[in-house]
Each structure stands twice: as C-alpha cells, then as structure tokens.
C-alpha cells in the first residue's frame, strides 16, 4: 500500500493570499455527550489538547479538537495514526453512547496564508469575518459559496478550511477567484 492521495495532490495558488491544499490529515468525528468524562478522555487523549468550548478550535500542529456542535467534535491527529486512534477511542467509549468515525478521507483541507485571509473568506461566506465576528481560534461552520465548510484562523494571517473531499476542486477554484490579483477589498 502506497501513500494516501489527497483530492488535489497538494494544489497551490498565489494571489491576494497563498492557498495550499494540506496533506492528508487524520480526522475523527466524535459524537456523544460532551460533558461525559469518557467522551472528554477519548477526545483529549487523541487530540492532544484540552476540550474546546463552544465553537472553539484547539489545535497544535496536526493534532487538535474542533467543536462542531453540542454533541460533536472533530478530533485531529496524524493521518497514519487514525486507525489506532479510532480503536483507542472506541475502547474508552465501550460503555458510553457515542460514535467514533474516521472521516479523514472524506475531507479536503486548505491553508490560506497572507494579509487578506479574512477577506478572501468573506467573499464566499455569509459569516462575519471581522476580528470581532471571528476571533482567532474560533471555528466557524458556514458555507463557501454553494458548499458547506468549516474554517478558523490560526493567526491573523493564517486560516484553515475544511470541506468535503468531492468539492475540493470547486473550493480551490473559488479561492482562486476570490483571491485573484486586483481584487483586494481592504476592510479588515
């Protein structure tokens, strides 16, 4: 078995910001009662960060935990650890009503770097992308043009976007358009 192949083979575009498709990333959907100890332990054990609060994205390198909804987390870990991670989480949750599923291959991720990350996103998403509306470290699930996506800012100049794998090319093309040279808005 060779290496996993992501949707666009690591595509990249330089415009108002630099867009790059990120390499495969372990992503585990964890559904359960987020206040239950077993659920917390399962998440933090693999994600390597504390439990996030509502809408928080807690990440460090390729690990982390994203708050997706009141009963759902996305746990991030290195791609090749995912099978083991799922097993370990399932073991912890043996007696708890919870669901752990590997969704690493069902997603595509992009990184946006540069001064204009907020506005490149704000051309596509109806979310409030001002610093007040989306502080660094807050996860926003919304849409990018016509598809759902989740994104958060690691810093004022670096954003990460997760979407479904099948629309990776669409999303990448959207970014190519919203980051096209000469289209800076200059509001944030």
């Amino acid at each position: 078995m060779s290496d996993p192949v992501n949707a666009l083979g690591g595509a990249r575009f330089d415009g108002l910001v630099t867009i790059s498709e990120l390499p495969p990333q372990g992503m585990i959907t964890l559904r359960g009662d987020l206040s239950a100890t077993a659920v917390k332990n399962a998440a933090t054990g693999v994600g390597g960060r504390d439990m996030p609060g509502q809408r928080e994205a807690k990440t460090i390198e390729d690990r982390g935990i994203l708050w997706m909804s009141p009963d759902e987390l996305m746990v991030l870990c290195p791609y090749h650890e995912v099978t083991v991670a799922v097993e370990s989480m399932n073991a912890l949750l043996k007696d708890t009503h919870a669901l752990v599923v590997d969704v690493s291959d069902a997603r595509a991720s992009f990184e946006l770097r540069g001064d204009g990350v907020r506005e490149v996103l704000a051309k596509l998403s109806p979310a409030d992308l001002s610093p007040e509306g989306l502080p660094v470290g807050e996860l926003r699930r919304s849409r990018l043009a016509q598809v759902p996506a989740a994104f958060w800012l690691h810093s004022e100049t670096r954003a990460q976007v997760i979407c479904f794998r099948s629309v990776a090319e669409y999303v990448f093309n959207l970014f190519k358009t919203s980051a096209q040279p000469g289209s800076a808005v200059g509001v944030f």
């Binding site: 069902a106 016509q146 289209s183």
Partner: protein, 1004 residues
C-alpha cells in the same frame, strides 16, 4: 450651443485630455468628466430618443435620476446597453452609441410616432389591435416589439469579458450617501467606536453642498467637508467606499451595495463590480433629495434641464449649457443656478417664478441685484424648438396657456419644481411616508420605520433624505440621525451653518395652472416612457383611480429611472384629476434596486467552472482520461459510459453490458450514500425509517430496504449492512445521501431525541468499486489478501479485509444479477485499488462500465430504480414490493399513509414487465391507451412505461411499466401511444425479470 467654459470645473482636470467616441464621432473630454458633461462640452445636446414616440432627448439631470441620456457603452464582450451618461465616468477610449432610433440619432424614422402621438395615448393598445385575431401574433406584436425596447441587445454569443464578486460585511452602522449629511452622521457614529461603513454612489464625497455653497462653523462648506473626510479616514473602525451604491434594504438589517470597481477604468485588473451583502445593526439613509421637473409644454426638448443639474454642470464640469438660460421655478433654490450662471459670465435673460411674493427673499434680491429679470406669477407657456431649445414663450401662471406674453430666446431652460427626498431605501423594507404640505414632499415618518428581527426600527434617514433642505437643517438632522441610530443622545451640538433664508415654495404641478389639453399633451411627466400630464388624467377618467392602476395603465415610473423625476408630479396630477388629497392617493411601491445593477454582479463568482459545485469521486480523473461521457447526477458527475476510440455512445453501452455479463466490469459506485447509524436504539430507529424490518438483521449481513416518507411514497432504497450489534451502515441512492442523512437527523433531533442513536455521513470517506461479472471472484483472488470464496463471503454478506495490503470492506451484493462484490476503500486509496483492479483484471478482460450499462443490467433483472419506477407518487405496493413491507411492525414511516382510501385502492397501476411485440424499444414515458375518453375529453389511459431499454443481452426492447391490473394480465397485449397520439406500439405484459429469473448468476 453648449460648450466648455474657459475656467473652473471642480471635478475636471484639464491637463488630462481623454478621447472618446459618440456614435463613431471622435470627441475629447477631460479626466473627471462624466460622459454627459463631456458630450455637453462638445455641444452634443441630443443624446437619445424616448421610448414610445422616439422624441429627441437631451440630458435633463446630472446624476442617478437621469431618464433620457442613456447610451450603449463599449463594444463586443464589454457592450452594455442603457448606461446613464450622467453616471458614466469618462475614460480614455470610451465608446458610446445613442439608442432607440433608426437609422440615426438625428434622423429617426420612429419619430413619426410623435406625429401620431394623439392616436397613441396611454393604454391605446388595450383598445386596439384585436382584429383580425391572428394579426396580434404576426403583425401588431412584432412591430410593437421592434419599436419598443431601449438599448440594443448584446450580441447573442456575447461572453462578458469581466468578472464579478460578492463581499459579505457585518457592520454596526451602514451609512448610505456621502453627502454632507452622510459624512457628518458617519463621523458621529464612528466616534462611538462602532463599526461603520459609509457608501457613496458617485466618485466624489460631499453631495450637493460643495455646489450649493454655504458656510459651516465659519469655514466654506468645502473645507468643512474636507475636514469631515479627513476625520473619517483617520478612524480605524470606519470604512469609506465611493462608487458604491446602496442598492437595496431588505429584512433584518440586510443591505446590498453595488461597487463599481472598474467601470471608470476598464483596464484595471480585478473584478468589474462587487456586490456587498451587508448585515447592519442600523442603516442610515443619507441619500439626499432629487429636484423635480415642472410640467409645461415642451419640457422634454433637449436643453430643458433641472436647475440643480445646470448648476452642477457649470460648477463641477465648467459646462456652459448655452449662452442664455431661462430659469423657471416655484422655489428659491433655482435662483442659485441663476447666480452661478451669472458668476460665470453667462446670460440669464429671465427667471420665471410661478410664485408671487410680497417681498424679495435673500436669493431673489441677490438675483435682482445682478440685473436678472424676475417674472413673478408667470409660467412657461411652451418651449420653442424641436431638437434643441430655441426659446420660451411665457404666460401668466394662473391662466390656461395660449396667451403668450413674451417669447424669450434662449438655449437652455433650467427648471425647478421643488425637491423630493430620496426615500427609496427607507421604503424598500416597509418604511412609511408622510406628506409634508409646506414643502410639498413625501418624507419619512420616523414613527413608522422598517423594523428588524427584534421589532426594532433599523433604518434612519438623515439630511435632505429626511426632508431637511437647508444646510443648517441638514447638519442638525445628521446629528439627530446619528443619535437615533446609536441610541446615544449625549453627542455634541450640531455644527452651525450660515445660509440664505429661503422663501417658501409654492406647489406647482402643472404650468400654467389651468393648462389646456393641447398643452397637457405636450407636458411630460415620465420622459423615458413618454407619459404626459394628459395620460395620467386620461387614466383617472377611465377609472384607473388607484395610483397603482394609473402607474400600470400609463407606465408612469416604470422606466429605467423608476420615476425618480416623475412619480411625485404624476401622482399630484392624479390626485388633482380625482379631486383627492395627495397623501390619500399615496405613492407606488419603492422596490430595489435603487438604480439598476448588473446581472453579472448578482451572479457574482458563480460562472462557468464554479457556476455550481461539481462533486468528483477519487476515480473521476481516471474516468475522465479514459473516455468517460459524463452525465450530471445531482452535483456529481457520473460516467454514462466509457467510450473506446471510434465508438458511438450506444456501442459503448452495449459493449459494457456484454462484457460485464460475460467477463468482468468495474463500476465507480463511490457516489452511493453511506450513512453510519449507531446506538442501542439504532435497530428500532431503522425499523421506523425502512418499510421492512432491519432490527433482525444479523451482523455481517446485508438487507435491501425501502424508505417511504410520511405521505407513504417511496423516497429511497438501498442495502443496509449490520456492522455490529449497535451499528448499521445504510446505503442510499447517489442523489439521496444528503437528503436521507438530513431526514434521519430530523427525526432524531426533533421527534425521537430520547433514543440513543447517532448518525454520521461517511459517503465520501470511501471510494466504492463494484467488481461485477463471472470473473469477479477471480480478479479478487488474483489480487489476493482476503477470502472471497462462495463459502467465506456468501451472497448478501460482507467482510472486512485487505486486498494487496489495502484495507477494504467487501459487500457481496448485486445490482446487475451477476456475481458481484462492492468494495469500499478509503478515498485516499480508492484510485490505487482501481488501478490495481484494472491492471490485474486485464487477464480477465476487465472493462469499466457506466451508469447506462448499470441501468440496463438492473432493468434486465427487473430491479426498480428510484426516480424511474418511482416519481414521488408511487408506493411500494405499486411495485409489488410487498415482501419488503413488514407486516409485523406496528409503525413505520408511510404505514399510516398506506391505509388511506386512495392508496388501498384495488385499481392502482402495478409494476409489470413489457415486451414489444416487434422487439423494438418502447419510447420513454409512453402511456398505454384504454377505451374512450374521460369527462374532459381526454383519452383514457391504463398504464405507462417507467423504464425502457434495448437489452443487448436479449437483443430486444425490454421495459417496465405501471399498468392497471397489470400483474393479473400476464401475456395480454396492450397498446402504447407515441407522441403523435395515434401511432400505437403493441406490448405484451410479462414478468419484469427478464434475465436469469432464478438468480443463478449472482449466487455462484
């Protein structure tokens, strides 16, 4: 003639000459010109033709309200019809053409309509053109269409060369209009620290004030404005955008703004327009006021302009509209125009003022002091000239016209009928208006503002838009608006302004007051649509009393300027004709956009490739490179077939079917929905969702299931696999994945939230490859890694394992009737597995197949297809799927619905197989014809085709259909009609399973 003055011009840069063409003629203007000012500088008064009568028309206004000076702008892929010359900034190389005439602007055959005007009053077409009947379609309508319309249609094959984009913005305050009111309000709001966005439709800040003059806080108003701008620019929390029009206000604080990024500089990189979609806490409409024309005979002749526009042209662009300008007015403001003209050395032979004032007001006195003759109590009887003004004939305003006192030669008439606040944006979302009798205008009723999601008022007008007309009042209102919007009443006092005190205006709706019918037929209200005073009066006379009826009957206010100049005058005429008060008659509805916005901007980025998302499977690229003929399935692309060199589509499909039945076929089935359902109540939940029993399924096994909606109709089907005691994996149709996922979440969240069930959509986690055909097992064995023998992996079983080291889950299910394995593999490895199957499969004659082969094979087996056999009106019983409807379950979705009279009916059409007698293929969707006709004279029908194919396996047409008492009529021949309704095709009712009735092939 109109020309450029030697000096002056606030907005132009004489050092930058720009060349442009108008109707092919090369002309020059200056940077800072609008197309209108540049044309006037070149003595091009005549700019277009009106809609109905093709009257010669010149520019009447200087801004967004312009109804006449519309041009076709640009060429080819950048051609745009109906662009207003007054809001088109000049650039080097601009090319414009005038509209609505043939053969030329100067000599227009259509102008004969002007001669016929008397026969073409409002609504004449409702009364004529009725006979002979066929003439409407073949004669009258084509002629009407040809002479109507305005600008040229872009060429049929035009592809817009520019791009567009959207931008979503959230602000506490959106201020629309960058006149002095908007600037002052924005500054006050900015000082609170709130997020403020200020938009101005033109390229310049300050609105009317720099032209109208005055002093604020001891400074000339222009300096005061510069100070405001500097302060605003310095505020981090304030964003200013010029060339950005507030286009519409919608519910819950939503607003659209239309930014024109490169219309003034078409060679700039980047999008042409940006549509801002703003969510604002509060919106301030500081949109100013628009001057009203006066209704006198000949008020549409080129050279008749609004007084404020004349002033603008002189001050902003150093245009002399003519050496001699007659002013006609009912208010003091127009005197400013006289003074401005005078100060530039131009002649004002007379000011005709409909009012009779006991004493001179300040502006009047000033005018008199400059030696201008003022004719009080007078009116224009008519304007002389055809393609441009030659002079005016004046009469007493109180009269009925015709008694001309004096004729005054002039080239320009500057008219002012008072001002109407721009209340459009205030009104878009329900803001109400009051009639202000003293100023003869509608102004916002602050107690009836548009309300937002909390029931709060969220729009506030400011300045002239709120009916404040003098500089001092405007500034005071701007401060008050900031207080209203922020709720903060502790702001400092309004800046003090010094302006001339004006005498009150006198409403004048018709000039002279008792104008005769001949005059009224020449007094224009709506210039573009050629609606005259007489038309509105005719409408009233004929019973079109509601202002909405009058609008629709006369087309008043329906032109591209949306009645910015005409509406108030029109409804005043209407109320006069009805003997009603103006407020009782009311206004028509203000609708977005404020001025027209491009379709491109509305569509935004969604064009071509990214018009809609295309979903791609991990195997998509391989298929694309290897001859896939794509078919859209939802947002997915699926290969209809995979063509080899030289093949037709049909040949490819038949080859694929044959090869799959004889050797080995591969199908990319990745688009199939895959939903994980887990929890101790998962079985119970699926029992509710599926018509059959799922809770009894054993781990390791699969079961085909049907889903109905609550209304009883089939909505999806698929194979459910039980993974373990608590976990199921439900396959859905390709189109159904998201929908069924949402359906499950709906019931779990909203009805059975106490059940322990979680659902996850893992559709895209896996590529799914169907390995199908007699050689299916062989290829898997050749690849090696797991036991796929008949014994180890029985029909309708599944197993986890590895193939050549790639982890897979293999389901032994078949939709083709052949030996078949569906292999789920992580999407990141799907391509690798596919490649492996293709290469190892070579020795077994592997070939990929597409959706059409899939459909044919399932039809040969008599399997139903959601969307073919079902259409939202079909219940499982219709398809003889009783075996899949549990009798044991007390309840499941659709069960109650099936008990209703119509669904329990004996004579519902039922599924059967159909074989044409001659072996041909039945047409898709054909109906079987019964005896006679129904009460409405329609042929009675007794069935219809649901799917139909040529079966390469059987070498004949096969079909399925729903037929009245079908299953009881095996062997009977029924007749299907072709689309001519008469040609019949005979088909025999047969069992729907055409191929391998005993299922031997799939059970090997």
């Amino acid at each position: 003639m109109s020309t450029r003055l030697a000096t002056g011009g606030r907005l132009i840069d004489r050092s930058k000459q720009q060349s442009f063409t108008f109707n092919g003629k090369r002309l020059t203007g200056c940077a800072g010109d609008t197309l209108a000012s540049a044309l006037l500088a070149n003595d091009q008064m005549l700019m277009g033709r009106s809609f109905k009568y093709h009257r010669p028309r010149g520019v009447v206004a200087s801004g967004a309200e312009e109804p006449n000076a519309l041009v076709g702008l640009g060429t080819g892929a950048r051609f745009e019809p109906n662009q207003r010359a007054t809001t088109t900034e000049l650039f080097d190389g601009l090319s414009a053409t005038s509209q609505n005439h043939w053969p030329s602007l100067e000599f227009d055959v259509g102008a004969v309509n002007t001669k016929l005007a008397r026969f073409l009053p409002a609504g004449f077409y409702y009364k004529t053109f009725m006979w002979p009947r066929s003439f409407w379609k073949h004669v009258y309508e084509p002629v009407i269409r040809q002479s109507a319309g305005l600008g040229k249609a872009p060429d049929a094959e035009t592809r817009d060369a520019d791009t567009y984009e959207h931008f979503y913005a959230y602000v506490d305050h959106l201020v629309i209009g960058g006149g002095i009111a908007g600037l002052e309000t924005a500054k006050r709001l900015g000082e609170t620290g709130a997020r403020v966005l200020l938009v101005e439709q033109t390229a310049h800040w300050g609105g009317r004030a720099p032209v109208d003059g005055g002093e604020v806080e001891g400074q000339p108003v222009t300096e005061y404005i510069a100070g405001l701008l500097a302060a605003l620019n310095a505020m981090e929390n304030v964003t200013l955008r010029s060339r950005t029009m507030g286009a519409g206000i919608y519910d819950h604080g939503y607003a659209l703004a239309y930014e024109r990024l490169s219309d003034h500089a078409p060679t700039t990189q980047g999008p042409r327009h940006r549509l801002w979609r703003i969510r604002a806490g509060q919106i301030v409409t500081a949109t100013g006021a628009i001057e009203r024309p006066l209704s006198f005979a000949g008020n549409d002749i080129p050279g008749v302009m609004l007084a404020s526009a004349v002033r603008d042209y002189v001050e902003n662009w150093a245009i002399s509209p003519g050496d001699r300008t007659v002013i006609v007015t009912n208010n003091d403001d127009a005197y400013r125009t006289a003074l401005v003209l005078k100060s530039h050395g131009l002649d004002v032979p007379a000011i005709i003022d409909a009012r009779v004032l006991p004493t001179d007001s300040a502006l009047m006195a000033e005018a008199r002091a400059k030696g201008i003759a003022i004719h009080q109590g007078h009116a224009i009887d008519h304007v002389m000239g055809t393609k441009r003004v030659r002079g005016v004939a004046i009469c007493s305003h109180a009269g009925e016209g015709g008694a001309v006192i004096e004729e005054i030669p002039c080239e320009c008439v500057a008219m002012s009928g008072g001002w109407s606040p721009v209340v459009h944006l205030w009104s878009h979302c329900g803001g109400k208006l009051n009639w202000d009798q003293a100023n003869a205008m509608f102004r916002p009723d602050l107690t009836r503002a548009p309300t937002g999601d909390k029931g709060q008022a969220f729009v506030t007008p400011a300045g002239a838009a709120n009916g404040a007309m003098t500089l001092g009042d405007v500034l005071e209102d701007a401060v008050a608006a900031a207080e209203r919007a922020s709720g903060d009443t502790r702001t400092s006092d309004a800046p003090k302004a010094v302006v001339a005190v004006e005498a009150p205006l006198a409403p004048v709706w018709m000039m002279p007051q008792g104008a005769s019918i001949k005059h009224r037929m020449k007094a224009w209200l709506d210039y573009q649509n050629d609606v005259k005073v007489s038309d509105v009066q005719l409408a009233a006379r004929e019973g079109f009393e509601s202002v909405e009826h009058a609008k629709r009957y006369t087309t008043l206010g329906m032109a591209t300027d949306q009645g910015k100049l005409s509406n108030i005058n029109g409804l005043a005429i209407l109320s006069g004709a009805l003997g009603a008060e103006i407020p009782q008659v009311g206004t028509t509805t203000f609708r977005p956009p404020y001025t027209p916005i491009s379709m491109g901007a509305i569509a935004g980025e969604a064009r071509a490739e990214i018009f809609q998302p295309i979903r791609k499977t991990p195997i998509h690229d391989w298929l694309d490179k290897n001859g896939a003929e794509w078919e859209p399935v939802g947002h997915w692309r699926r290969p209809y077939c995979i063509k080899q060199a030289g093949e037709t589509t049909e040949q490819a499909v038949h080859r694929e079917v044959k090869n799959t039945r004889e050797n080995l076929g591969l199908l990319d089935a990745s688009t199939l929905g895959k939903l994980i359902v887990k929890g101790k109540d998962a079985g119970k939940f699926l029992d509710m969702l599926y018509t059959n029993m799922m809770s009894t399924l054993k781990p390791g096994r699969c079961r085909y299931g049907l889903m109905c909606n609550e209304n009883g109709f089939l909505m999806d089907d698929g194979v459910v696999a039980r993974i373990d005691e608590d976990t199921f994996l439900c396959h859905t149709t390709s189109g159904g994945a998201d929908h069924i996922h949402a359906h499950m979440e709906d019931w779990l969240q909203c009805e059975w939230w106490d059940w322990d069930v979680y659902v996850a959509n893992v559709t895209e986690q896996y590529g799914q490859i169907a390995v199908v055909g007699p050689n299916a097992r062989k290829v898997l064995e050749a690849i090696g890694g797991m036991d796929v023998s008949k014994e180890a992996l029985t029909f309708m079983g599944w197993a986890d394992g590895e193939l050549a080291g790639i982890p897979v889950r293999v389901y032994r299910i078949s939709f083709s009737g052949e030996l078949s394995y569906e292999i789920a593999v992580k999407a990141s490895y799907a391509r690798e597995l596919w490649d492996l199957l293709m290469s190892v499969g070579k020795q077994f004659n592997v070939m990929p197949y597409g959706t059409e082969a899939l459909h044919i094979m399932r039809a040969e087996k008599g399997f139903i297809m959601i969307g073919d056999e079902t259409d939202g009106t079909v219940i499982p019983q219709d398809l003889n799927l009783h075996w899949a409807i549990s009798k044991k379950k007390e309840d499941f979705m659709g069960k109650r619905a099936h008990e209703r009279a119509d669904m329990a009916r004996e004579d519902r059409w039922k599924l059967v197989g159909l074989e044409t007698v001659d072996g041909s293929v039945l047409p898709d969707g054909a109906y079987a014809v019964g005896e006679g006709t129904n009460a409405n004279g329609q042929r009675n029908v007794i069935g219809r085709v649901t799917s139909t194919y040529h079966s390469p396996t059987l070498g004949r047409g096969i079909a399925m259909g729903l037929v009245l008492h079908g299953p009881d009529r095996m062997g009977e021949v029924i007749r299907f009609a072709k689309t001519d309704g008469t040609t019949m095709i005979d088909a025999k009712i047969v069992d729907p399973v055409f191929y391998d009735k005993d299922g031997e092939m799939q059970n090997v």
